[in-house]
Amino acid sequence: MSYRIDRRQFAKLAAAVAAGAVLSNTAGAAEAFRLGALNSITGAGGAYGPGMLEAIQIAVAEVNAAGGAAGRQFELFAEDDQTKPDAAVLAVKKLVEINRVEAVVGIWPSSVQLATLPITNAANVPSFNVCGAPELETLDDKDLVFQFYASNKVIGAVFAEVAKKRGFKNPAVLAYNNATMVAQAENFRSTWEAGGGEVADFIVYEPNQTSYRTELDRALSKNPDILVLSSYTPDVTIILKEWYQSGYDCKLISPGWSITQAVADALGPEVSAQATTISNVPASSTEAYKAFHEAFVARTGRQPEMFATAAYDMVIVLALAIELAGASAKGTEISAKIRNVTNAPGNKVSTFAEGLAALKRGEEIDYEGASSPLEFGEAGQTTPAFGIFGFEDNKLALQEVMTLKS
């Protein structure tokens, strides 16, 4: 069996949103800060969206328990973008026009961020995402958009670095046909070739197939020593199954969201032992992650995956920036403070309460997030550290942590 969204948990969560809205209406002296969560609950992002919303919930509770940001409690409004840009446009219009949210967090697919950006930017509403689409860096003219996840360029480059470091000579690439995965695979290729290597084969495959054997056979016929799988969980499960059945021996490398513990559980140790995965959660290394991990497990009974961790950071960062900008700050005034609270130099803080206290003392702070140390560049992009994972006895284990110069 595999991993499914726990509906009961989710139902509780939705009820909590409603209850939270009621409570905070009656609670605060200062006006509540209306926060929009735009998550991909259904559609292709449905595997990650619910966890992201739960993480946002946890962060909102943390902020409110500490007395709010600049004295303002957070009031959460959640919407499903269905992983579709046109549904997202209406959802974000509802958030902005009806719920009058002052920031939108939790956006997963780049298509949604690209479609909603003109609306949120026009309304002077910051939006935080995990997209990693290069176009965003140029389209965001007001510096309201922040990407809490590694850009594709970086992940592709890490694949190449790891493969090179481990002495592979003949990689074959299989990439899922969407913007993120193709860009990632292309960046692997360019980094690999810049390092003097050659790519045995480069195949972009169509999602939602029942068999990838034809694509796989083509890749394997070039005798690769490693398969680079820019993929998601559903397709990689089939690919790995067919790869094992083919009897061909080689190593595998994929992003962390693709070959997960659940995939290892479904396919067994003989498959997972060959896999290396790259993710940008420096698991267990930061205090923020430990605290978030504990809260997430306590709340949901599941392990948080990386996007959820990033979603948690979005709310904390936003709250810290509001605290610094002041209770009456809007849009660009808030987003202008984001680099102040996240980037070095400053006293390193790991929780909202710590940051709040330090800011109240008038100190410079540097929030070390649960997802990464969070150092935002010029265009609102992060340059995170990467965990390199393997499977030992079919259990996911961190092997090393790696940082890249961006």
């Binding site: 069996m1 969204i5 509906r7 449905g46 029942t210 034809t214 089939i238 059945q245």
Partner: protein
């Protein structure tokens, strides 16, 4: 491309074709007897695959049990929709049944996602490695899949051609009014047809899930290749549906070596257009089926 790759692709295509011949046969029988393109067969397949998952998690891990219960449950589902929807629509234009079948497809899929969510499931079976004949790979599990499909197809062909009931079915397909006038109970034929459609789609869906993974869109994505193959074989012709599907499976897999796998669906479309342009009755179709 060397011959080893082509052989492997062809083997893959044959297995896939045999498997999809089950729903294709269902489609062509409905086309021939009830006279409308049944767009819900894909989601009947999905239903079968999810039933197999359910059986495995709560009753027994046995694949045979999962296959049998999946077929039976899907047959029941198909009967239900016949009794509720398609029976009343049989007197109206085929377009009514066609649109209703889309509604049935959506209703079935939404019930599945309501309870099972959007995530994928895996039908549990031991992973085995392929037999390797100097590059040509044959997978033991593929042989089971193909053998199961062949057995089921053989059973229906036997029924259609060597039993009195099969003759009645073919009579209804040829001319329902005449068949009714000569004392054949059309209702009985329709009920049997619904059972076959459900059982075959359920079995096909379970086998598909066994070969790949189980997702809510599993069956819907296969609708177009199945329809293209049925038209290629000749609407209403059971032999045509099976041959058309196998031929289509092989050509799809081999073609994707050259043009890229993404164009599989485009290929289905081009085949469709060409058949309709050149020989609308398909390989084995009778002119009568082309209305």
């Amino acid at each position: 491309m060397d011959w080893i790759n082509i052989t492997n692709a062809a083997i893959n295509g044959i297995v896939l074709g045999l498997l999809l011949a089950l729903p294709a046969l269902a489609v062509t029988l409905v086309f021939g007897i009830a006279r409308f393109p049944h767009a819900a067969v894909g989601d009947y397949m999905t239903f079968g695959a999810y039933t197999a998952i359910l059986v495995q998690s709560f009753m027994s891990a046995s694949l045979v049990a999962a296959a049998l219960i999946a077929s039976a449950a899907t047959a029941f589902l198909s009967l239900f929709f016949y009794a509720w929807v398609f029976r009343s629509l049989s007197q109206r234009s085929p377009v009514s049944s066609l649109i209703a079948s889309i509604g049935v497809a959506f209703a079935v899929r939404s019930v599945i996602t309501f309870f099972a969510g959007q995530s994928q499931y895996v039908i549990e079976a031991p992973l085995v490695r392929a037999w390797n004949f100097s590059g040509v790979r044959i997978l033991p599990t593929d042989l089971y899949v193909a053998a199961t499909a062949v057995l089921a197809l053989a059973a229906v062909f036997f029924m259609l051609h060597f039993t009195a009931f099969g003759r009645r079915m073919r009579a209804v397909a040829d001319n329902p009014e005449l068949a009714a006038a000569s004392g054949i109970r059309v209702r009985e034929v329709m009920i049997t047809l619904s059972v076959i459609v459900g059982a075959f789609c359920g079995l096909g869906g379970m086998l598909m899930g066994f070969k790949a993974v189980v997702l809510p869109e599993l069956g819907w994505e296969l609708i177009l290749p199945i329809f293209a193959s049925v038209i290629l074989g000749g609407i209403g012709s059971p032999v045509g549906a099976v041959c058309g599907m196998i031929l289509f499976g092989i050509s799809q897999e081999i073609a994707s070596l050259y043009v890229g796998a993404s164009y599989k669906l485009v290929l289905a479309f081009v085949v469709l257009l060409l058949v309709l342009l050149i020989r609308p009755q398909g390989m084995f179709g009778k002119i009568i089926a082309v209305r």
